[in-house]
Symmetry: C2
Subunit: 359 residues, 2 copies
């Protein structure tokens, strides 16, 4: 895609959308002509800051897998389109984390680096999220840390990174630029807020030694706006507890903590009919929510967020827009049937601007 010129119709469609939703911007036609001229001359064009901000926000609004879209207008957009070096990208990712973390008052934020242009690909961050934990497979095949990142960990070790070998070692950033190859960069400790997981009632819970990072910042999706592709545009919201308590720490292919929690709870794990998994799942999620609250870190629960999402849906309909949604991603992985988002269907069309999986 890097070598193709930008699709003029995509660009025009976006410019018209921008002007439609921002009446103060006036008649779209002069801007459409301008963009067409730029594309004719250079094969690409440059968004104004207002267009970029609008595009990033609408891409969130269009994220059919995201339950957290009620506050899509509040996304803070950091324009770093002038930053091209790997070092510059790493520095700005660290700055993003510091600003977005806000000592716990988490702020939905995106940092946008240069787009792909004909013959000039933009920089990329190879990590799935800015903050994730290493996974180490030992000689017997046993895994310490996050099994999801065993391959990624192996690759950064091949590039010379040395992890401590623990369960929660923050992985280094890997930045790739067309000119400079790959840069590995450890995140400074003060850029990574973490929360130890404890339980409001069970003292033994902290002995499980669990923790999680405060900020989920997806860094491997392309931001597509008006035919332009920004391959490096890490964004973050705050966590919904279930992402940690019902997926990252619970999945058998991730930290797989339900058996350990069930054992400490004294549950009968010899039969599925005791629902020991379900019991342990609830206590793990209670612990996650409690721990973030205790640490003063923004987090939502799946009930509150489901209700918010329906508010969002109603607002979007009132604004005359389709709110695309993917049922299987919107319905939480715990107590699905008990959340109001379960009991309806959604329109799941793909709209742009969008965050897309390109790699």
């Amino acid at each position: 895609t890097v070598d193709r010129a930008i699709d003029l119709r995509e660009a025009e469609r976006f410019v018209r959308l921008f002007h439609e939703e921002n009446p103060a911007a006036g008649d779209p036609r002069p801007r459409v002509r301008e963009v067409a001229g730029e594309i004719a001359r250079h094969g690409t064009y440059t968004h104004t800051y207002e267009e970029l901000q609008f595009g990033a926000r609408v891409a969130w609004r269009n994220s059919n897998r995201c339950i957290g879209r009620l506050y899509w207008r509040s996304l803070k957009v950091r324009d770093r389109r002038q930053v091209r070096s790997a070092e510059g990208v790493a520095i700005e990712c660290v700055a993003h984390l510091r600003e977005a973390t806000g000592e716990g008052r988490i702020r939905p934020t995106i940092t946008v680096f240069p787009p792909d242009a004909p013959g000039a690909p933009g920089p990329r961050v190879l990590n799935e999220q800015l903050i994730r934990y290493a996974g180490y497979r030992d000689a017997d095949g046993a895994i310490t840390g996050d099994p999801r990142y065993v391959d990624f960990t192996k690759r950064v070790r091949a590039h010379g990174w040395r992890g401590a070998g623990g369960r929660f070692d923050v992985l280094p950033l890997v930045v790739q630029t067309a000119e400079g190859g790959r840069l590995l960069c450890n995140l400074p400790g003060d850029a990574v807020l973490e929360v130890p997981i404890v339980h409001p009632e069970y003292r033994w819970f902290e002995e499980l030694g669990l923790r999680w990072h405060a900020v989920p910042a997806i860094s491997n999706l392309c931001l597509e706006i008006g035919g332009l592709c920004y391959p490096c545009a890490p964004f973050n919201g705050w966590y919904m507890g279930a992402e940690i308590g019902a997926r990252n720490l619970a999945d058998v292919t991730r930290y797989d903590q339900l058996p350990a929690v069930a054992e400490r709870l004294g549950l009968d794990t010899s039969t599925e009919r005791s629902l020991w998994r379900d019991h342990a799942l609830v206590e793990l999620n209670v612990a996650v929510l409690h721990s973030f609250e205790r640490a003063g870190v923004t987090m939502t629960d799946h009930h509150t967020e489901s209700a918010r999402f329906l508010t969002h849906l109603a607002r979007e309909e009132k604004a005359g827009r389709v709110c695309p949604a993917d049922w299987s991603w919107i319905v939480p992985p715990i107590s699905g049937g008990v959340t109001p988002v379960f009991h309806r269907y959604y329109d799941n069309r793909a709209l742009t601007p969008a965050y897309v999986h390109h790699r």
Copy 2:
């Protein structure tokens, strides 16, 4: 659809499928010619018992919403195509319940009544399931019983049925025939096995006064085989606990019991972050599974059933068949992310024979 002749291509497709999967039946061509001749003469044709049995079983195999398909070959098919009167249908539905209930050893069973034919619609049962509970709305709008059946209850009351006004009054069967109008028929008590819901640890649980029927028997789907439509073909499996514990007794639009359970558990219902809904949901489901086991009534849990479904899927693939599945129905409404069926996608195409919603 009643007045149209049967679609010959559908009939032929089915006959070929039957012969393909039943090599002992030999060359399909003579049977295809026979069926074509019948349709040419009468606008319809008659399935052999073997075809009917195969069709009903394959319709189960094709039920993309059903997690319980591993045992699709074991469906017991009761051929009642000669029963046309409303009384006869009612009697056979009662016999179906007695046989399928088996004093708790539940047996997947279907009873097939006459198909629709040109100018001669088959009989119909208007109930959604053979056994369901009435719902009564009083003058203040408060509902006693199952809110889902308030309208149905109103209609049978208009036809002269008198319910006791309780929370678990079994609704009468309503049978409709083209000739005879509607027949209301109370199910005899010994045809309706019920299970009082108690908890293995909490004695107070039985004070909630909950119960549920042992046999889920869907009675408002059409069985479509080879272009023929059997509008009255009630079928039953056994329950997966979550259908009762996470839907019928839990949904806010059904029995809505989570607040009552949470209160008795002493949970903090002033905030969603205590996950009181999730806690109460688990205990309600534990109670349902325990109660059925104690009563000696067949029931599966969502973990076991998820694993079985993946076994079924693997078997179907090995047999060279697509196993169509609808993710949003297959993933259980409780602890979805903890079940293995959550972590993959499915092919959701519509195959026939099938059980279809026509009304």
